[in-house]
């Protein structure tokens, strides 16, 4: 076990933290949905039609290039709707659940990779490079598992895990048969896990220490040509359960957090649940326009109040959309309420504790002016700003030299938050990764 101290990054201390670790049971949702966009890299081909009945764990669609790589239903029920967007892109597959749930059982004697691909759990794993769902036919160099989420207001993964801890060893054993390399676990504290066959590293420091990409970069960076799988400890437990019992556990615990939540709490529910079942009656703020984020404020996706819980299915944050419309000369503000991590505003006087943030950009998009802002937020041996510029210029050689294979959009989320020039860094990184993938294919 090694302890790695990370200095770069920032812990955003928002209001709306969970005070008690009790997990309450959320009512069953009326609808459940799976959004193929959550499984980046999979181009979905439907296996079901509206009106079909599916069991929990049964495939809804598969990847265009690999029939065996499936996205599966989280509940049993009837396919109610297939929502399509522009150019008939599949936006969501909506399921009306049965009252009596049935689950598909898998043959545990299958090789683990096949089992993962068919059960839909492989779709919850990502690979570096490119931050996409891995190709089951390529064995990874190593597998990295993060055991904590350091994002603002994020749930404790150990709490979300709960009793499923007992499946971790089985999950590790299954993964060990997939890679010739090692399985690395990233923890935030020195726990006696009792697990064997893994290398454990403890990461101390602010967010993004919990990002698996940061952990890889500080343990064994991804080189050109390497493929590394990444997942969180909850998925690891699900894998363990799958290989021992032959069923996929789609239940999850969600942290309901944020300024506009009456009492932030943990709720147990099922993946893809309609949010009304989780948030109705639990929000404050009356008619103010709310931004409901499935995920954390940095990497989460804004969803409608009747939208669905999105991957990684464990966090909801609710903040105001615009807490101060038409703020007069906000750039000149002397109010400590205007939060900034820089000492240009007075918010540092308050210690930047219990911060309230809304979704405004707080400025216009500009060219990159201030130096070193991205590096401050990126605990990796990478010159973030130069990489971003290489991506914008689409200079393939430079991107490769500067380490594009090592990064995922989420690694730049904090830099995007802190950016004075308000550039969409995650979007830029994603477009760079997509272009690289196309070029290298």
């Amino acid at each position: 076990m090694a302890t790695i101290n990370l200095k770069k990054g920032y812990n955003l201390d928002l209001v709306g933290k969970i005070a008690h670790n009790d997990v309450a049971e959320a009512p069953n949702a009326e609808l459940y949905a799976i959004v193929p966009d959550d499984f980046y890299g999979i181009i979905p081909r439907l296996e079901v039609a509206v009106g079909d009945h599916v069991d929990a764990g049964q495939a809804l669609c598969h990847h265009r290039d690999d029939e065996n790589l499936k996205i599966t239903a989280p509940v049993s029920g009837t396919v109610k709707e297939i929502r399509r967007g522009a150019r008939r892109k599949i936006e969501a597959i909506v399921i009306a659940p049965d009252t009596e749930q049935t689950a598909k059982s898998f043959d545990v004697k299958l090789p683990p990779v096949q089992l993962l691909a068919q059960s839909g759990l492989l779709a919850m794993i990502r690979q570096r490079p490119y931050d996409i769902v891995p190709n089951p036919n390529v064995a990874p160099r190593d597998i990295f598992v993060t055991c904590f989420d350091s994002a603002p207001l994020a749930p404790s993964l150990m709490l979300v895990l709960g009793d499923n801890k007992r499946y971790l060893q089985a999950g590790i054993n299954a993964l060990a048969s997939i890679t010739a390399g090692k399985i690395y676990l990233g923890l935030d504290e020195d726990l006696d896990t009792g697990l064997t066959g893994v290398e454990i590293n403890v990461f101390k420091g602010p967010h993004p220490a919990g990002n698996v990409g940061v952990q890889i970069a500080n343990v064994k960076p991804v080189n050109k040509g390497d493929v590394v799988w990444t997942l969180d400890v909850i998925t690891l437990a699900r894998i363990g359960k799958l290989v021992t019992e032959g069923v996929v556990d789609f239940s999850t615990v969600v942290a309901l957090t944020g300024e506009l939540v009456t009492t932030p709490c943990y709720l147990s529910t099922t993946m893809g649940a309609q949010l009304t079942s989780l948030i109705s009656g639990k929000l404050v703020g009356g008619d103010t326009q709310k931004r409901i984020i499935s995920g954390n404020v940095l990497t989460g996706t804004p969803v409608a109040a009747d939208g669905f819980l999105r991957a990684p299915y464990r966090h909801i944050t609710v903040i105001p959309e615009n807490a101060h419309p038409d703020e007069f000369m906000g750039w000149a503000s002397l109010s400590p309420k205007r939060f900034s991590i820089y000492r240009l505003f007075t918010s540092w006087l308050t210690g930047n504790r219990n911060v309230r943030l809304d979704a405004r950009l707080n400025g216009g998009e500009r060219a990159i002016v201030m130096a070193g802002e991205y590096d401050r937020m990126l605990p990796m041996d990478i010159y973030g700003e130069f990489l971003i510029k290489a991506i914008i210029a689409f200079d393939i050689d430079k991107m490769e030299q500067l380490g594009i294979y090592e990064v995922a959009p989420e690694d730049f989320a904090l830099a995007e938050f802190a950016d004075t020039s308000k550039l969409e860094l995650q979007h830029i990184v994603r477009s760079g990764l997509d272009k690289m993938r196309k070029e290298m294919a």
């Binding site: 955003l12 404020v297 944050t317 906000g330 750039w331 707080n362 060219a367 995007e416």
Partner: protein, 404 residues
């Protein structure tokens, strides 16, 4: 504020495409975002953003410049009344004289620069950007007070167009725009830029003050006096304390070390300027000045100055604090910033001491290092690239053995 908001909303259609004032849309947008924080919320990526933006950053630099500006005004008056032989007028009169003398320069600088920026923004259908806010105030502070206004206007126009807009505007320029203005004046109108008459205003400022020069008065700057020194010892009566306080002739913003240090404290505390650049400029300057002082020569009289005096005189400190720290034109990597700053300090003193043509070298040193900043960054980044490549090679060799 609601009334103002209503007024702005009412005027909006006029400036929108198809409106009668559509040619001024970028002006309207710039004005609107100046008055009201834009209501745009994030549409992709992170859901929350830091409260800081480029407006705040630039305004902070302006605040840091204010001590230099106000002291500069006072000192213009002080030097004026000393020159005309009535040094016992009140400090207030001196300030008013300086204010009246400097105000037209500030107005010309902003009018010309912002005018061009607005036109550029309108041509490219972009929002007007903040970069010139600082440049527009730097220019009056580094241009000698006796420079004719039309020269300042021409030089500002040249700098904004050819040093900034052609490169793509704020954030894209290679050379510091304010220094290009200064350099343009310096090389196009050398007679107005140096010598004894450049730095002390004698005639009236907008009808206030004015007089004839008193007997025995020389308006030469300390560095100008040093440059014409003959012999092994400095004959000019120089007082480093005076230079520290700033009551000496010079460009309006550059004379007072005290005012500059207050500005530096603001910039460093807020983190707007890089302490790496700022400190290493002083270290580099001190090192070079100490070296020159250790090997004094009557051929190069500036080598007779002791290192601390070197740093207090001329535009060195102002350049170190406000010019070298421009993040756009400087080095952007941490290691690069140390090298960049150090070399600016060294070259500034090198030019000052060993090139008798130029009594001051800070401007040329920064412009030169502006050109080299990308190279410095390239070398620093290349080390990271090599490290990555070495890792790859080591890995593939190891992998090869495993396969055997």
């Amino acid at each position: 504020m609601k009334a103002l908001r209503k007024l702005m909303d009412k005027a909006k259609p006029l400036f929108s495409p198809g409106g009668s004032l559509e040619k001024l849309q970028s002006v309207y947008d710039g004005f609107e975002s100046f008055l009201f924080t834009p209501n745009t919320t994030s549409q992709s990526g992170v859901n929350v953003h830091d409260g800081n933006d480029l407006k705040r950053t630039m305004i902070t630099v302006i605040v840091a410049l204010l001590p230099c500006l106000f002291f500069g005004m006072y000192n213009i008056g002080l030097q004026h009344f000393i020159a005309i032989g009535t040094p016992d007028v009140s400090a207030w009169s001196m300030f008013v004289y300086g204010l009246l003398a400097l105000l037209p320069v500030i107005v010309v600088s902003y009018a010309v620069g912002l005018g061009i920026e607005f036109i550029g923004a309108q041509i490219h259908h972009k929002e007007i950007q903040e970069g010139f806010l600082v440049t527009g105030l730097l220019i009056p502070l580094i241009v000698p007070i006796n420079t004719p206004l039309w020269m300042t206007a021409v030089a500002t126009a040249f700098a904004v167009i050819f040093a900034k807009e052609v490169f793509g505007g704020t954030g894209m320029n290679i050379f510091n725009v304010a220094l290009i203005t200064r350099a343009f004046l310096f090389f196009a109108y050398p007679s107005k830029m140096s010598g004894d008459e450049a730095f002390v205003k004698l005639d009236s400022a907008l009808g206030y003050g004015g007089g004839t020069v008193a007997d025995g008065f020389s308006g030469a700057t300390p560095l100008g006096q040093v440059a014409t020194n003959v012999g092994d010892t400095l004959s000019a009566s120089l007082d480093t304390m005076q230079a520290f306080l700033g009551t000496i002739p010079g460009s309006p913003g550059e004379t007072s070390m005290v005012a500059i240090l207050i500005g530096a404290a603001i910039l460093l505390f807020t983190g707007v300027a890089s302490w790496r650049v700022m400190c290493s400029v002083f270290v580099g300057g001190f090192a070079m000045a100490a070296l020159a002082h250790a090997l004094p020569s009557s051929t190069y009289p500036a080598s007779l100055l002791d290192p601390c005096a070197q740093l207090c005189y001329g535009g060195f400190a102002f350049a170190a604090v406000f010019m070298a720290t421009d993040p756009v034109t400087g080095a952007r990597t941490k290691t690069g910033q140390y090298i960049y700053g150090f070399l600016i300090g060294v070259i500034a003193i090198l030019i000052r001491v060993y090139n008798s043509g130029y009594p001051e070298g800070a401007m040329l040193a920064i412009l030169l290092m502006n050109a080299f900043a990308p190279l410095i960054d390239y070398c620093v980044v290349q080390r990271n690239v090599k490290r990555r490549l070495a890792r790859l090679n080591a890995n593939s060799q190891k992998g090869g053995h495993e396969n055997e």
